[in-house]
Structures are given as C-alpha cells and as structure tokens.
C-alpha cells in the first residue's frame, strides 16, 4: 500500500463522490424528516411478514432490540452471537447511563438541545438528519425500557432520576446504578427471549459469522462457524443486519471485551460495503492504568465519576509524594483550570488529551508516570460517604478489587484507554450499507457520533437503531427489493463456505511458534503509539510501513494448536487478528489523509496555539468512505459531503 498522501482533496460541494454514497436524507425541515420518511415507506402485508427471513448478527443493544422488534412484527428472525448467551454481549459493560431529551429536570433540555450537543460533541462531523432523529426517538427509548422493567434510578417521589454527563450543561442521563448497560441489555435480551418463546426468533449462540454472502449484488446470507463443533454452515435470508460492535480491540488493550472483533464488518467491507471514518477512535479518559506486560484488557471507570471527582496532578514534575501529602496549592486541577465552564465534565477527547499532555510534561502519577488522580475527597466532605456510595458504590468496589487501593482513602489513579469507535461501515439514513440488503446498527455503523461520541450516547444510539429505526427501514427495503427465493443450496453459499474453510486451514497450517496474543499485542502497541491519542504524518507513515512487516511475521510465525473441528479458542482469535492487520492499515491511511484535527482524531500538525484541535471545514467537512479494491491494493477514498443547514459550524469550545 502506498503511503504518500495525495494533494488535498477539494471540497466537493454537496454531491457524493460515488453514486453509492447517496445518504437518502428525506427532504423538508429537520424536525419533519423522520415522520415524512416513515410515511413514505412501503409496508409489508402483515400476512406476508412470516415469509421473510432476516438475519441479525450480534445481540448487544442494537442487535437484540432489532431482532426482538422484527420478531414482534412477524418476520422470521435468525439471531447469532459468538457468546454462549445473548445476554453477554459487550453492551452489558456500559456503566454510566443513557441520554434522553425528556427535560424531566426542567433545566432547559429539548430535542433541539440534545441534537445540538451531539453535533457539537461530534465536532461537526456527523449528519444532521441522523442526529436529529436520534434525539427525537431518545424519549421513546426511556419509555420502552421503563415498561420492560429496567430498574432505573428513581427519586423519592417515584419519578425517574437523572445525572449529568460530559459535554452537556443539562442533566439528561438516565441510569441504573453503575450498571446501566447491563440493565438495558437485559431488557432487550428479555424482549428477545420472549420472541424465542413465541417462535419468531431462532437463537444461534456460540456461532461466529465468518463471511457475508451476496447473490445478484444483494446481501442474502452469511457463513458461520459453530464455535463448539467447528462446523461451517450457511444461512440464507432476505436481509442481513450487522450489529456486531466496534473494532477497538484492534489496539489489543482496550475496554472492549476479549471477544469483541471486527470480522463481521470487515468481511462485509471486502464484499463491497464502504468503511467510513476508520480513524475516529475514541480514547476514554477515565480507565484504570495498566499494570504490566501480561495485561489482557483495560477497565473503564465510568465518566459519571467526574460529576463528583476532581481530576488533578502535582504542579511539580516528578513529585513522588503520596497524594495526601501534597498540599492544596501544589495541586493542579488542570481541567477546572483550562476549561472553567465544563471543568471535570469536559468531553472525552478533550479530557484524554489533557491527561496525556500533563503526563508528557512529566507530571503524571503512579508507575511510569502514566496516570492522573481522580479525587473524591472534597465530595466526601460535602456530601458524605453514604451519598457517594449510593451513586458509585460498585465502581469504588471494582476499583479496589483491581488495584488493591480504596478510593475512600486515596484518590483513584486513571489514564485514558481505547474505548469506542465512531468509525464503522458507511450507512445511509435508513442504516443500509452500500450493499443492498445489508443493514448496520449500533457501534458497527458510523452514523451518529461524528468525530467524537458524548458520554451516555452509545446506549441511546444502539437502542434507537434497534427499536425505532431498523424495524421500519428493513420492511421498506423488503417491499422495494421484491421477494426472490434464495436458499442456502445456492452456489454462492458453497463458494463462500469453501473460502472460509480454506482460510481456517491456512491459519492452522502456518506452523510457527508464537501464540496469537503475541502478534496481537505487537500490532496493538504499534497502533497505540502511532495512531492513538495524537497522530502525526510521521507516526502514521511509520505505522503504514510497519504493519505489512507485522502481518508477514504473523503469517509465518503463528502457531495455532488443535484442529478446526472442535472448540478452539486460539483459532477463533487468530481469524480475528488476521483481519486487524488490514483494518489497522485502513485506519492509519484514513488518519493520514484527514489533514485536520477533529474530535478524537488529533493530528499534531493541526492545532491551535493553545493545543486545541484545529478543524479544516473547507476541505474536510465530509465523511471519508473507503472502498476495498482487493488484497494488497490501495483502497479508494470517497466522500460524502456533510451539509450543515441548521447548525452553524464553529470552533468547539468548552472553556
């Protein structure tokens, strides 16, 4: 792959640079677009719905919600997940909360404000119409979840409680202790199990999608591997929905679950689904710092802690005194100092970079100087231990379990870690990719968060896609596409199965000496250093030169024990890591070509004198959507211009 950056692309006006990139945004004023589109949609005859089969891959918030809702509508749904139960998808680990424009606090919230905060939070790199729809349906999500029995936090009068989150000046986040993701997912999972009982959904747990099957240019099925027996088989459908999460595990160490992977979306990309904005990867500011080489994952401490915790480092470099010996006037509460309006609740990208900055200055704390304090001392004095334990008890416990330190006694130590990706498969307003019949929901798509996601917005987007968008848009597609019978005896399925089998064999046959984790860690280190919190032309070119070497080493030095016809966890991981080399390359290439800083994408060449991100709206107010051209071929960068009709583009300031 060539690494020279081409000359700056000129702004393309409002036409996408590839006909497949038509976002199909409905006409009319922003507030009427979704209603209008829903009315334009064609409806499937209720008696015909059972004749359609829909595949949903992934059972997180988006996948479980979509599968359950499609089942309720009467479609035959096939649901797949690699976990042993649908309830274990990684949405379960989201801690802090879910945003909704209910304005229950009477503090001035509205659909418009949630819309505006999200567009601004995303540093003006998201589609207005999508974000507006997200804000509109946010209130329905809370209604839906409360009705399912999600035990949201309540006030004494019995009404729902709220808290604040980064990037907002209103209190609009709903929560269930520090386990909001768990409770929302269990709600969606239970709705899904209800459809299993009704015979509308057939579950396939411990089953991993390894390829997408196209017939006549449309997505018509998938090839899967049974992770217990190793059997390769195919499933045919009238539409395929990928809700398979993000690719943060590319970096090896991240807050994602061990099994999270990009294979489903990457296989789809190789079949023609464009990949949008792969360089938008979010680094979360409040994670527990790593403790050693053997570290297998990083643990997030909810951003909600920043409501009551104050972030600081010593004023002096290399100050090794224990935190309680550092007097008040020798502490630098740097977020409060630099961003007085938002203070400790500055958005994630900004807080992460500020932490990196003070650590780079040599003022970091803990082993290796890679950490900052998150201190609850003042809040304990102000509110008392009981109030704080009510809010964060399980997080305090978790921190103590992992580090052996009690946050009641000593300040927490935190450091940024890879957490979420805004990039993903390109989708239009209806969440359909550039492959007809292939829909993408949740973190797996790129749609709503622009260059940076605000806290408590991932749960909102996953459930919005799953409950309130996909069930409508898929029906419309099914009618427009017309019903043609394709089953898994079609030759395309045999071909895809053969390809999958060959790939498994090639992984098993490498016959090297090192385990998968060794290679994955190596790739992760490279990407974290060269394409992490701060990126430069030089670092990205370095990464692009190194990745092919690492890939070579992988395909020569990997050892996978056992066979393909059994439960083989090394083989599962090997297939996922093999895809990361290609995806990692695309991420670096995208970061190199986006010659601006925006949101989570920070190019050191493009910053203000104060070190803030410097956007280039004239040249980069667009979505970069990459087209696969074959192994070893340079992918092609297309553009979908972003039109800002309601929101005025401005420098994003949280000061």
């Amino acid at each position: 792959m060539a690494v020279e950056a081409p000359p700056r692309p000129p702004s393309t006006g409002l036409a996408p640079s590839h006909p497949a990139l038509d976002p199909r945004i409905p006409s009319g004023p922003l507030g009427q677009k979704w209603e209008r589109r829903k009315f334009e949609m064609k409806l499937v005859n209720p008696a015909n719905k059972r004749r359609y089969t829909i595949i949903v891959v992934g059972t997180g918030l988006a996948g479980a919600a979509a599968a359950a809702s499609l089942g309720e509508l009467g479609y035959q749904v096939l649901s797949f997940c690699y976990q042993d139960s649908a309830r274990r998808a990684h949405s379960i680990a989201a801690q802090g909360g879910i945003n909704a424009a209910k304005n229950y606090q009477n503090d001035g919230d509205s659909v418009e404000r949630l819309f505006y905060d999200t567009v601004k939070g995303g540093d003006f790199r998201s589609r207005e119409a999508n974000v507006y729809r997200l804000a509109e349906v946010s209130a329905n999500i809370i209604d839906q979840c409360a009705a399912q029995g999600v035990p949201f936090a309540r006030e004494y009068g019995g009404a729902l409680a709220n808290r604040s989150f980064g990037g907002a000046l209103v209190s609009r986040t709903f929560y269930a202790r520090g386990q909001t993701g768990q409770q929302l997912l269990l709600g969606a999972y239970q709705a899904l199990m209800r459809q299993v009982a009704a015979g509308q959904v057939r579950m396939h747990p411990r089953t991993e999608m390894l390829d997408l099957v196209l017939v006549d240019g449309k997505a018509r099925g998938i090839v899967v591997r049974d992770l217990v027996t190793g059997a390769i088989s195919s499933y045919a459908a009238d539409a395929v929905v990928l809700c398979t999460g993000g690719y943060g595990n590319l970096f090896y160490l991240s807050t994602n679950a061990r099994g999270c992977n990009a294979t489903a979306i990457w296989r789809a990309h190789r079949h023609g689904a464009f990949f949008a904005n792969p360089c938008y990867t979010q680094i979360h500011p409040t994670c527990i710092p790593r403790s050693g080489e053997y570290q297998s994952k990083l643990t997030l401490m909810s951003e909600s802690l920043r409501n009551d915790g104050r972030v600081w480092v010593p004023r002096k470099k290399g100050d090794t005194r224990p935190p309680d010996r550092i007097p008040e006037d020798e502490r630098d509460y740097y977020l409060e100092r630099i961003y007085p309006t938002y203070g400790n609740l500055a958005p994630r990208d900004i807080s992460s970079r500020a932490a990196k900055h003070v650590c780079d200055e040599g003022r970091g704390v803990g082993p290796g100087g890679l950490g900052v304090y998150l201190d609850f001392r003042d809040s304990f004095e102000r509110l008392g231990r009981k109030v704080l334990d009510d809010r964060y008890g399980n997080l305090f416990e978790m921190y103590e379990r992992i580090t052996g330190d009690d946050p009641h006694q000593v300040p927490m130590r935190i450091y940024p870690a890879v957490h979420y990706v805004m990039g993903g498969l390109w989708v239009d307003y209806e969440l359909m990719s550039t492959i007809p019949g292939l829909f993408v929901g949740g973190e797996a798509n790129f749609s709503d968060h622009g260059a940076n996601r605000l806290g408590a917005s991932a749960l909102m987007q996953g459930l919005a896609d799953g409950y309130f968008v996909l069930p409508y848009t898929i029906g419309d597609y099914l009618v427009r596409a017309g019903r043609t019978k394709v089953d898994d005896t079609h030759a395309a399925f045999r071909d895809a199965e053969a390809t999958v089998q060959a790939r498994i064999r090639s992984l098993l046959d490498i016959g090297g000496t090192r385990s998968v984790d060794h290679f994955h860690r190596e790739l992760g280190n490279l990407l974290w250093n060269d394409c992490g919190m701060a990126r430069s032309r030089q670092s990205l070119q370095h990464a692009l030169a190194e990745i092919p070497k690492l890939r070579e080493a992988f395909w020569h030095g990997l050892k996978v024990t056992g066979t393909g016809e059994e439960l083989n966890q090394e083989l599962e991981r090997a297939g996922r890591v093999a895809d990361y080399y290609e995806l990692g390359e695309l991420m670096c290439l995208d970061a190199l070509e986006r010659e601006e800083s925006c949101g989570a994408h920070f190019r050191v060449e493009h910053q203000t004198e104060e070190g803030e991100a410097l956007r280039d709206d004239a040249h980069f107010a667009h979505v970069a959507a990459w087209e696969w051209r074959g192994p070893g071929q340079r992918p092609v960068r297309h553009q979908e211009p972003l039109a800002f009709e309601t929101v005025a583009l401005q420098a994003r300031s949280y000061k």
């Binding site: 209604d143 035990p151 709705a191 679950a257 297998s296 379990r401 439960l567």
Partner: protein, 275 residues
C-alpha cells in the same frame, strides 16, 4: 510467586477427562487470575501443547461469561467477585490450586473448564420478561415506582447469569438465578400482570432442565458475585404458592360463552338425548 495448578482437562464431552498439573513460576501479584492462565496458555502454545479452554469475555465482572471452581469454591476465594476480577495478590507463593468446571447435570461440559449454560436462557424464555411490544410503552413517568422498590428491584436485577449459584449448590439448584429474575420483575408495577404465570412457568422450566430443588443451604448466595441474597428465593416461593393456589386459567368462568353456534349446540343436545 510460583503457582501450581491442577486443571481439569477434557477434550470433548465424549472423552474422559483428568487433572493435569502445571506450574507458573513467575506470577505477578497484579495479574488477574485469568491473565495468569493467559500466560500459562501462551507458553503451552509455544511448546506445541493445547492451551486450557476457559470462557471469559468482558473481564470486568459484569458479562457473566467466566467462572470455574478454584479449590472447590465457585469463582475462587474472594467473596462478591468473579474469577476475572480476582487478582493474584490474594494467593501465596507455592500455593496449589485445583481448577474444575462448573459441575451440574444441567450444565454439560464442552471442553476443559467450558460448560454449556443454555439451560439458564431457557428459564428466561419460559417467562423472564414483561410482555411489552416495541412502541407500545406509556410515558415513562406515567407509572411511578417508589424508590425503595426500584432500588430492591435493581439489587435483584444485578444477577450476571454466571451459574456460580448452581455450581456451588449441593443440589445444583438454579433457585437463586430464577428467584432473582422473579423478584426483579415482581417488585415493579410493570411486572405485576404476568407475575403468577411467570413464576409457574419459570419454576417448571428449571425443574425440566434438571436443576435440583432448593433446600435453603445458602451456598449460592455465599458465592454470588452480585451479592444476591436468599430473600429472592423466599419471594419466589411466596409467589409460587400464591400463583399455584389461584391458577387463574383453571378457575370457573365468570360467564359461559357459547363454544359453537347455538343451533348446532341444540342439535347436539338433542342427539345426546336420543342416544
């Protein structure tokens, strides 16, 4: 520190298993238990031996994927913790640890420390939900929930579905798991309409899966990573008795409804008389 492991190795459900001894000589106290096994596995792979299969995913104690017995204790010696959240600082140099999979007839073994817990899913399928269709929900604040009820429902809902309760129970009962879901939904106004049916259906499914009965031993609660208390079983039993005594679908109807057309019914009556 040096840790000695006796690990249950079983290649497939059909094959015989046995304990195999391994040593990890250089364990750091900051490692999590599963990271220690990662290190062991990487070395096994490098020697060309098959690594130990064990389940894990989030590695932060919330997904419920991990779990095995350490010296006879589900999730190891730490209370209110999954094995992924147990760090090696709780063990000492030279310690011998025996690792076995969850043992229960309803959890068939798949490989090494991996078992099949789909029976727990089927208990939820039997009725562990509120039947609400997407889009049909009322305004969220239209139904107020007293804070104590919401808080207690949250405590019961915190179950991570790991199956430690079953593994620890001498009867291999799933009462804590089933009771937690029944209590969560039964404490909320949204869960009331289906409350009697739910407890009957879920209990019947648990029995059908081969889980034993509860004899109030309390091992389940002692090992539960979410700290769920035996009270959820008491609530389930209370609901069960109430529901069993008032099975609504078997009660006499409030009014008789003609099952077929009146004319045919009369003809049938006459025919009966003739016969």
């Amino acid at each position: 520190m040096r840790i000695v492991l006796d690990i249950w190795r079983q290649r497939s459900p059909a094959e015989q298993g046995k304990f195999v001894r391994y040593e990890v000589p250089d364990v750091s106290e900051h490692m999590s238990f599963l990271e220690m096994l990662d290190v062991l596995n990487a070395r096994l792979v490098e020697k060309g031996e098959e690594p130990v299969a064990f389940d894990s995913d989030c590695r932060e104690g919330i997904c419920g994927t991990c779990g095995f017995m350490v010296n006879g204790e589900a999730h190891g010696p730490l209370t209110k913790s999954t094995i992924c959240q147990t760090h090696m600082r709780h063990f000492h140099d030279g310690q011998v640890l025996r690792l076995e999979p969850w043992r229960a007839a309803a959890f068939p073994i798949r490989r090494d420390l991996v078992v099949d817990r789909s029976a727990l899913d089927r208990i939820i399928v039997a009725g562990g939900y509120v039947s609400v269709r997407t889009g049909s929900a009322p305004e969220a604040n239209a139904i107020l929930v007293p804070k104590p009820a919401a808080d207690r429902a949250m405590e019961a809902a915190a179950c991570i579905g790991c199956g430690a309760c079953v593994a620890a129970c001498p009867n291999a009962s799933a009462a804590l798991f089933t009771g937690a879901k029944i209590s969560h939904l039964g404490l909320l106004p949204q869960g009331q309409p289906e409350r009697p049916l739910r407890v009957l259906a879920m209990s019947a499914q648990a029995a059908a899966e081969g889980f034993g009965h509860c004899t109030s031993i309390g091992e389940c609660s002692a090992v539960c990573p979410a700290g769920i208390q035996l009270e959820v079983i008491a609530r389930m039993n209370g609901d069960f008795i109430r529901a069993a005594l008032s099975r609504r679908d078997e009660q006499e109807p409030m009014a008789t409804v003609p099952r077929s057309s009146p004319v045919r019914a009369r003809t049938a009556e006459r025919q009966q008389k003739v016969e």
